[in-house]
């Protein structure tokens, strides 16, 4: 028996029916194949033919998500603008000036820069152990941060 004869038989058992009678290796291979096929047939799920009802499945997060409800946006905008600008009108304040004033509460770039530039002064005045604490806490907190960010998300698997 040559390897090529065994290969030919295993490739097409029906074309070379007499080979297996004289080849022990191929007999063994065929026995294993048949056992595997029986195992697969046994493991195959026997359905009762009824299809899975998709309506019975829970609603997925993306179902209906693409709807753009502009009416809801306008309604909320009316409520928020009404309460905000209406409040200014009630107090006798020009609503536009009140709105602009409310938004300009943030620091100007110049003041932000001044605060940032004062940082080296404060750091230079701090005692030595504060510097050590800052660096130790920086390393520790960022290690914890990285550990937390590596944690597997739940989300869809929940």
């Amino acid at each position: 028996m040559t390897q090529s004869e065994c290969d030919d038989y295993l490739a097409d058992r029906e074309a070379n029916p007499t080979h297996v009678e004289s080849c022990d290796a191929c007999q063994e291979a065929v026995r294993k194949l048949e056992a595997l096929e029986r195992g697969i047939a046994k493991a195959r799920l026997e359905g009762d033919g009824a299809a899975v009802d998709p309506e019975a499945l829970p609603v997925a997060a993306w179902e209906g998500a693409s709807t753009r409800s502009w009416l809801a946006v306008m309604a909320v905008a009316l409520v928020v603008a009404g309460l905000g600008l209406g409040g200014f009108v009630l107090l006798g304040i020009n609503p536009i000036e009140g709105f602009v004033g409310a938004l300009s509460g943030a620091m100007s770039a110049g003041h932000l820069l001044a605060v940032a530039k004062s940082a080296p002064n404060f750091l230079a005045s701090a005692p030595m152990h504060v510097h050590a604490m800052i660096f130790a806490a920086f390393v520790l907190v960022n290690v914890i941060f990285v550990i937390l960010l590596r944690k597997r998300l739940r989300g869809y698997d929940a």
Binding site: E55, V59, A61, W62, E63, G64, A65, R68, S69, W70, L71, A72, V73, V76, A77, V80, A81, L83, G84, L85, G87, L90, L91, I93, E97, G98, F99, G101, A102, G105, S108, H111, L113, A114, V115, A116, S118, A119, P120, N121, F122, L123, S125, A126, P127, H129, V130, I134, A137, F138, L140, I144, F145, L148, L149, R150, L153, R154, G155, Y156
Partner: protein
Amino acid sequence: MPSKRKDRFVLALVLLASALLLLPALSATDGSTKTKSDDGAAIVSVGKALHITDPVDGNVQSFGGSIEIDTAVHGDVLSIGGDVIVGVEGHVDGDLVVLGGKVTRKEAGAVDGSVVQPLWIGDALRKIPDGSDFLESLDRRFSVLILALKMSVLLVWLGVAVILALAGGREVRSSSLELRANPFHTLTVGLVGFTSFVLTAIVFGYLIPYFIGLPLLIALGLFAVVAKVYGMVAVFHAVGWYLFAPKTRDAIERRRYLKGDLAMVVLGLLVIGIVRMIPVVGGLVWMVASLMGLGSALATKFGRREPWFLAVATTRA
């Protein structure tokens, strides 16, 4: 490492980090005051109350201590985490910037430049003509003025939320889902992330004299703002989904308006905005929502659900 042991390990690290952060506050060290810094600040104080009685040529900067001014300061005054009192004899030629503190001006106490208190709602009133007349109403628990000011800011949040929901609805929904599925984890990530940003900003402060510090601070600030804004929109979506989302397919079919990511975001924004009006509780709710939003933005990598750090596993041939 098994999950429970890892959680205990992380908890131990968090407690250790908290202890390290609290130590400087608990230690019995007095603050320090320095005169003449490199950038011309005449007085720099850390952790000490300052009482200025002699005229000062230059800026005055204080961190973690109050400032009482009873003379002329020929420069700017900056206070972080402390109150400022400008006495009757006091006078500030430049700007007065106070972060996290109160400003009290005695009768004749004058400030020639701007008085800036960005973390105080009354600062906005100074920018409105005749707005200062309403400053007293801010002491009340509830006032129409506080409602109007907060709703004005909420209107801007509405615009930003709509833009984000339209541009990245899937990402916002993904972050919102993680928030709802794992609220404790997102809050923890938000808390640790915020602490990390603050500490990183302080460390970048050391680099300011070497020019690289300021660009790094600006980049960090921008990243933090983007994360916070995106995170808040995810929180709006989560709240809106809990309260208003259709829970069955029939409901999805029947509804015309109260469905979709956009509707959930704006409705959630309205609910949180109204809760924010409640004195004390409202501020707390907004703060927790901000932390959870920041956590969900960072945990989900802005909704993309990709790992920040790739773990490379090798396999044997």
